[in-house]
């Protein structure tokens, strides 16, 4: 049997460690920096086209009522999951959103339901195109596995 040099074993172990640290550490670090438990999201519909496209990954920062303005793109939770739409109206206790590519606005929501708003680069949301397709594929695979 060939002797495997210790240098190679240590190198491989370090490599695996750094890859795992990156995979598990990035979301944790982003959560800490962006002050939200949901720092990243994948766009799964065309409702915000062309500002946000399907399969984009976006980053979410914590936002409270005083941080929000009409025109901001926010993320909120509803019975279908998460929705990422633009604020079109703000009242004292509720606000109304609408997808740019939708014809009708969403039902008003309370400020408590807001997860955060998109991290912007200039005036547009910072997005990483296409990478979200991996997340969508993984989610589909998981749901198929759960069903079987």
């Amino acid at each position: 049997m060939k002797n495997i040099p210790i240098k190679n074993v240590v190198g491989s172990a370090l490599y695996v460690f750094f890859v795992c640290a990156l995979i598990f550490g990035i979301p944790q670090a982003l959560s800490y920096v962006l002050k939200t438990p949901y720092p990243m999201a994948t766009i799964t519909s065309e409702s915000m086209w062309p500002v946000l496209k399907k399969n984009d990954i976006i980053f979410i920062t914590k936002a409270v009522k005083s941080d929000l303005r009409i025109g901001d793109i926010i993320v909120f939770k509803n019975e279908r999951g998460f929705t990422i739409h633009r604020i079109i109206e703000m009242k004292d206790n509720t606000l109304t959103t609408k997808g740019d590519a939708n014809n009708i606005s969403d039902l008003p929501i309370s400020y408590d339901e807001i997860i955060g708003k998109t991290l912007n680069y200039g005036s547009s949301p910072f997005r990483i195109p296409y990478i979200g397709s991996i997340t969508i594929w993984a989610a589909n695979l998981r749901s198929r596995t759960d069903l079987s």
Partner: protein, 155 residues
């Protein structure tokens, strides 16, 4: 004397593993060349069509352009949709695997009726490409290309 025999033995082993490495290397080069040739030939044989739509202000504007050589959706206003068709035929004795690739900014608006499917041998079909213009579309011409790849389905 013993040392010499040992070194000859190791030299032989080294030579054997070097030949093995070279064989593997050559095999991987051949595989890469075959793969690249297959991709290249498919890219050359793929049917390519230009796609275009002219988004107009107003309501219910539908200006059809009956050009056959490209998927021209003509003039359309927001909240309208239109379908254009491409004929596909599977000649020969083996089924054809169809894959569609859309490029350009119009590709966000156009959806093929089906993608990644098998067309049985001897069959012909009309594949619909539907365009929907959302309210957020700008008043301008969107264009792009559609590539239709045909692979013989051998397995």
């Amino acid at each position: 004397m013993k040392n010499e025999i040992t070194s000859v033995y190791y030299l032989k082993e080294e030579l054997k593993s070097a030949i093995k490495r070279n064989k593997l290397k050559s095999l991987s080069y051949v595989l890469v060349v075959i793969l690249m040739s297959a991709i290249f030939s498919q890219a050359i044989n793929a049917s390519r069509y230009d796609m275009t739509v002219n988004v107009k202000d107003g309501e219910n504007i539908l200006g059809i352009n009956p050009m056959q050589e490209k998927l021209d959706f003509g003039d359309l206003s927001r909240n309208n949709c239109m379908k254009r068709y491409i004929s596909l035929k599977s000649d020969g004795n083996v089924p054809t695997y169809i894959a569609i690739l859309q490029l350009g900014e119009i590709s966000d608006l156009v959806k093929p009726e089906r993608n990644f499917f098998v067309l049985p041998s001897g069959n012909e079909m009309k594949l619909a490409f539907e365009i929907k213009i959302p309210p957020s579309a700008a008043t301008k011409t969107y264009s792009g290309k559609v590539w239709i790849f045909r692979f013989p389905k051998l397995l």
